[in-house]
Symmetry: C2
Subunit: 192 residues, 2 copies
Amino acid sequence: MGRPRTFDEERAVESAAELFARHGYEGTSVDDLVTAIGVHRGSLYKVFGSKRGLYLTALRRHLDRHVLPLAGRVAAAPDPVRALTAAADAYDSGPAAGLLLLAQAETAHRDPEVAALTAEGFGALEEAIAAVLAASDGPAAEAGPDLARALTAAVLGLRLRSRTADAAAGPGAARALAACLAPPPADRPTGE
Amino acid sequence: MGRPRTFDEERAVESAAELFARHGYEGTSVDDLVTAIGVHRGSLYKVFGSKRGLYLTALRRHLDRHVLPLAGRVAAAPDPVRALTAAADAYDSGPAAGLLLLAQAETAHRDPEVAALTAEGFGALEEAIAAVLAASDGPAAEAGPDLARALTAAVLGLRLRSRTADAAAGPGAARALAACLAPPPADRPTGE
DNA sequence: GCAGTTCGAGAACAATCGTTCTTGACCGAT
DNA sequence: ATCGGTCAAGAACGATTGTTCTCGAACTGC
């Protein structure tokens, strides 16, 4: 019963995520959202309740569709080097990749619900890297969760910096960092 | 001639920097500023021209008073490990330490002047770390600026994460990361 | 085909935003 | 002592914020 809705909620959330990822929460107005999505104000409030509601669903969907799968792929990597490069590469691309980043920087410290979501995302990434570290036999194995936290932070920081820096310094830097904890010093062909 | 001003511009900028560092640019209203600083709206606009003007001077002063000196201290460190821990410790503390961070995350990508300032700050830190790396003889020496970028990003990301995480995971993680590129593998007492 | 319900379009809401104006009070130089 | 100029205090500005209301059109179940 009733008139069926003619807009795709999936696409709406996706467009909203892209806007939020680019301009942040406060930097994205409801007018921006309705013009970019193409949906009417009333419908948007009918479906999502509020701007914050739309933001929360966009963030949760970002976690479910991108961040957590990425954490799974990272955890399945055979060694820390490939885990780190995979994390950096995947997190650098994608239109809404900055959503988690901006949420942490801008909104998490004053919205507990957002903080819970970002903590979930970053926690998953850290645990994935920690798992790979623990399974490795390099010098990184002993460092444990602390090192995992630092590496995740590095990926995060590179992404943040690449929002203005010229371009693509991310992958190179991540590779350099990965190479740094790569070699079990024994099998490194320096003098042989 | 004229009535002398009765408020301390130095303190005003400092208070403003603290507010901006905590709540971001968009998250800090002019009302918040005038009540926190204790100065009148008119005086504030007379001296700084606009909210953005106050923000820019606060950011520049933050660079001159804290970031660039920190870069100098980092560059003077005797080895990469101490350089990195010094950077992490210093950047974690201080009331307005998040100013550069928030500026990069929130404002830099749409305000070229802010982008220039953040680029200056991060560039100085990266160059300092790169210099220490180049002077070192560990495995990090060859990696060059890419690794410096990654390490700076790690400090940045740790600070960003510590805005909501429980506390003090930063120093431990930074130390773990530093320890990871510390040992010239030869003089590590593993089997001797 | 009619009733009931939901959707889409746009005006309108109060609140807040950054900014400016008006009004006296105060001070230093003449 | 008086005048010129800068100050502080607060009201007020238009613009924009997020949100809600009103209205007519569109569709499904009886």
